[in-house]
């Protein structure tokens, strides 16, 4: 019989699960996040895993981690440093322990610390003892406890050991008073028979272990966050992006055609959309990246909403075809979920280094709009905006997401569907005086006239085309005119963009970011402001064209700091475009910014400014 232990209330906590890539850490983290979301906390997650499906067991290269940060208040990042590290083996300990907050809780599966495993992780002696001074180390013989819990079931040792992540999950559910029902429900939809029974048992056994053993004197509760009322769900950037594509098709009343080739970290979008045939969505897994974009452009030519989703190396392969869409002025959306490069780089790690490629990576002058979502949930809205822009201006549009927001999750206030923009597409059907390159006087867009429409038959070509008729033209003045028209059309989109909003509003220093760095930048700036530092921030969603008031905003601040996960791409653009003497905080480690990194630079710049 156990006596009821006491419960301590805390404001926020960040937990990192780390183990072998075969240990199920991503699943454990995902399930913990879902239970946490249902418990009403605000949360932010950061899955960090290797590209290898199963790296050699116990190797440093094979360590997979999942960090979840949850709180009773509004949060924007997965936290710089976890408060709790659950290390499933020595390799996981070695690659993660330096991140653990001093004094934090270190939970260790001691059964995995065999001499062989310790050596494989590169330690020459038992690494745990020296850590006891720095952290609250909790030793758990997880493998043995898990085996004991399943001893009555006729499972192989291998099958039994594969359940141990759910023992760990059950333990963490007890420690942080999370509901177990959502996970149990999920298990019942996923497994049957012995495997289901085993997972349910160890989940409960882990929970019971926390309650009865002496290792944990208290459990913790993080009260519900005081956030905007409404219906919420947990969502990753890739899911939100997929649903944004579905929603764009419904709202614009045109069918969606997705051309895609499998690539990390974009494949989930193809998988997700392939499930929505009942929306009339056509997904096409092409033979390569080029065919994927070509098919999407072909579908656009035929009147569908063409889209392709990819990541860096695939994006580069598509560039020639994107140039054709610029030239023939066809609406198509290209999503680049950026990852660390160049070349194959680090496929599962994040980066923001394809901005200049999106803008200038095609032959000749080839302007197109570029958008970047700021958060996982924002990926939904950015897709609706991208499709509307593509059709309204008859242009390819590039959306730059990144590996971090693609895989991270956050609680998402489900938008009011009735309030989503409608943007019904009107195809051109009037044969009277029709010319394929006649232009709308305001948007400069040419008409979208599609096959099947009598009297508007026309030819498009990647050769330079005569203004109006679209016939092939090598006339010098025509080329000059068409290059200028294409540029003016894209530049003119700025007229409809909302002015960039300044977080904070005033001060001496303006921090500028774009895309998925929003959380870390906003958090760093808000904390600095709350301590009286004269700093504000903006997060650019529109990278081409820039919002119309950007120059004016930049000029209002004495100093500008651009923070980006590359070696200075937006920084160069802002310096070139606005002649602002902006400074740069660059990071290319395949990891998102820590709040503290931005915070330190803010303080450093402001101190330097005072001196």
């Amino acid at each position: 019989m156990s006596t009821k232990k006491s419960v301590e209330e805390i404001e926020r906590v960040a937990i990192r699960f780390a183990g072998d890539s075969g240990d199920g850490m991503q699943l454990t983290g995902t399930k913990f996040s879902e239970a946490t979301a249902l418990a009403g906390n605000d949360l932010s997650t950061f899955p960090d895993f290797p590209a290898e499906i199963r790296a050699p067991a116990g190797s440093l290269a094979g360590v997979s981690g999942f960090q979840v940060h949850f709180a009773a208040e509004d949060i924007r990042t997965p936290a710089d440093y976890p408060d709790v590290l659950f290390a499933m083996n020595p390799a996981a300990l070695r690659t993660n322990v330096e991140d653990l907050r001093p004094g934090g809780m270190l939970i260790i599966n001691t059964d995995a610390f065999s001499t062989q495993n310790i050596e494989r992780a590169g330690y020459t002696e038992d690494p745990i003892e020296p850590l006891r001074d720095r952290y609250r180390v909790v030793d758990i013989p997880l493998t043995a406890l898990n085996r004991a819990a399943l001893s009555e079931l006729k499972l192989s040792t291998r099958e039994t050991d594969r359940c141990k992540n759910f023992f760990a999950l059950g333990l963490m559910y007890w420690l942080y008073n999370r509901p177990m029902e959502p996970t149990e429900r999920w298990l019942r939809t996923k497994f049957t028979g012995g495997v289901l029974e085993a997972n349910l048992r160890v989940l409960k056994a882990g929970h019971a272990f926390g309650e009865t053993c002496e290792l944990f004197p208290v459990s913790f509760v993080v009260p519900r966050a005081k956030i905007q009322p409404g219906v919420y769900r947990n969502i990753t950037g890739n899911t939100a992006l997929s649903w944004g594509i579905v929603a764009a098709g419904v709202q614009m009343q045109r069918p969606i055609f997705l051309g895609a080739y499998p690539i990390t970290p974009a494949s989930e979008v193809l998988h997700e959309l392939a499930r929505y045939r009942h929306f009339g969505i056509r997904t096409f897994q092409a033979e390569d990246e080029i065919a994927a974009v070509a098919a999407a452009i072909g579908a656009s030519f035929a009147g569908h909403l063409g889209i392709c989703t990819t990541s860096g190396p695939g994006f580069i392969l598509k560039q020639e075809a994107i140039g054709l869409a610029v030239m023939t002025e066809l609406p198509v959306v290209i999503v680049n979920i950026q990852r660390a490069g160049p070349s194959t780089g680090m496929p599962t790690k994040t980066e923001q280094a394809d901005l200049l490629a999106a803008l200038y990576g095609r032959n000749s002058d080839s302007p197109l709009p570029v958008l970047a979502p700021a958060t996982p949930g924002d990926c939904f809205h950015v897709m609706i905006e991208a499709f509307a822009m593509a059709v309204k201006y008859m242009t390819p549009v590039v959306v730059l997401s990144d590996g971090y927001i693609a895989n991270s999750s956050e609680p998402w206030l489900i938008p009011d569907v009735a309030a989503l923009p409608r943007n019904k597409v009107e195809l051109h059907s009037d044969p009277e005086n029709f010319e394929p390159y006649q232009r709308d006087p305001i948007t400069l867009a040419r008409p979208w006239a599609v096959p099947g429409t009598k009297g508007v038959e026309h030819r498009l070509t990647g050769l330079e085309s005569a203004a109006q008729s679209g016939n092939v033209s090598y006339l010098p003045e025509n080329h000059q005119k068409m290059v200028s028209l294409r540029a003016a059309k894209v530049a003119g989109i700025a007229n409809e963009l909302p002015p960039v909003e300044v977080n904070g509003g005033d001060g001496e220093l303006l921090v500028v970011g774009w895309g998925g760095t929003w959380g870390a930048i906003t958090e760093a700036v808000n904390r600095a402001r709350s301590e009286g530092l004269p700093v504000s921030s903006i997060q650019l969603r529109h990278l081409n064209p820039f919002p119309p008031n950007l120059g004016e905003v930049l000029a209002r601040f004495r100093r500008v700091l651009v923070c980006e996960l590359n070696t200075g791409q937006l920084w160069r653009m802002l310096r070139a475009e606005y002649l602002t003497p902006a400074e740069l905080l660059s990071k290319v480690e395949g990891q998102p910014f820590r709040i503290s990194e931005i915070r330190e630079r803010i303080e450093q710049l402001l101190n330097k400014g005072d001196a």
């Binding site: 249902l38 519900r224 947990n234 045939r277 056509r282 092409a286 009297g455 030819r459």
Partner: protein, 341 residues
């Protein structure tokens, strides 16, 4: 099929045709424009798609919808169009460089997927637009600007390539043979699936007379084997008739007297429809100068088209789940929770 009252001139665009004088493309263009009114397809439903090369200018001269795209990728653009809009009549025009070199991958995949497209591959065995380099179908040893000592590439045969890719309709015809070309174009249009037509086409500037002996009516009877379904594989003029035997997949030539019964002499009878492509492969191996070059339909079999299966999946999904096809349901699927005021 309801005939649409259109004439050849309705398919002639207002663009000046800019191929070299004497180019085989002129004849192909004229014959395609002639056949079009007979296909019963409304002009606004016709799309010509091409890549890059001399042949790829073709769509610009057709008064239909047209898309002159990028090098080698026309099959992929056409796949998107046809999968999106199955009711369109989509024609791909490509060449030996565009289709088999830079675009070989896309040609392979469009053929195996079996979209209902017509692919016209103009084979002149040379790069024309870039001024005379050897192509992937050029003969070994060919002297060109890029192979001054002769080409050392082993060539690919478009027919064998298509058969290997699982094509359901494979044919070969000749640029200047109007009747044969028109017959094959009509057959290709009627075929429900991807139809690959290799058109032997003369480039008078960079590879003149490459197909001379089969283009010339005087030499054709000895150098070409005209394929007719159900007819024996016989070629040669009276007094010099010969037949093709195929034993264990290996073809050989047998001399025939004028009054011989070819079947009794073991000459194979042409059949476009065997499920196995082995026989068609044996035909594709017939090359000059040891054999006559087969002209006609090598293979015509049926298999569901890609786009029909896409439509079926959409229809099935809608029948099963149409009520869920709204954004509200999608966004609220799975676990959600309510934060009260």
């Amino acid at each position: 099929m309801a005939k649409v009252a259109l004439k050849t001139k309705d398919f002639v665009s207002n663009q000046d045709v800019r191929w070299c004088p004497g180019c085989g493309d002129y004849s192909i263009l004229k014959n395609v424009q002639r056949v079009m009114p007979e296909l019963g397809v409304p002009r606004e439903n016709v799309v010509f798609v091409s890549g890059i090369g001399c042949s790829s200018r073709f769509p610009l001269y057709m008064n239909t919808f047209g898309f002159h795209t990028i090098h080698g990728r026309a099959p992929a653009f056409a796949t998107g169009m046809k999968a999106a809009r199955p009711e369109l009549s989509v024609w791909v025009v490509t060449g030996d460089g565009d289709g088999l070199s830079i675009g070989g991958n896309h040609l392979l995949h469009v053929l195996r997927r079996n979209l209902d497209l017509q692919i016209l591959l103009f084979n002149n065995r040379v790069y024309g637009l870039t001024k005379g380099q050897y192509s992937p179908t050029s003969r070994p040893g060919m002297h060109s600007k890029s192979t001054p000592q002769g080409s050392i590439d082993y060539p690919v045969d478009p027919i064998a390539f298509a058969l290997g890719a699982g094509a359901t309709f494979v044919a070969r015809t000749i640029d200047v043979d109007a009747n044969h070309l028109q017959t094959i174009l009509k057959r290709a249009s009627a075929h429900p699936g991807t139809a690959l037509i290799e058109i032997l086409q003369n480039c008078p500037v960079y590879n003149d007379n490459e197909w001379g002996e089969v283009q010339d009516r005087k030499t054709r009877s000895d150098s070409a084997l005209v394929l007719e379904n159900g007819e024996p594989l016989v070629f040669g003029a009276k007094g010099g008739k010969r037949g093709i035997r195929i034993k264990d997949g290996v073809p050989s030539v047998v001399a025939l007297a004028d009054d011989d019964d070819p079947q009794a002499r073991g000459v194979a009878t042409h059949n476009e429809h065997p499920h196995s492509p082995s026989y068609a492969f044996a035909l594709a191996s017939l090359q000059r100068p040891d054999f006559p070059l087969p002209i006609g339909v090598f293979r015509a079999v049926e298999r569901p088209t890609y786009e029909s299966m896409v439509e079926q999946q959409i229809a099935d999904a809608k029948a099963k789940n149409e009520s869920a096809a709204n954004i509200e349901t999608l966004l609220h699927s799975g676990d959600t929770w309510t934060v009260e005021v």
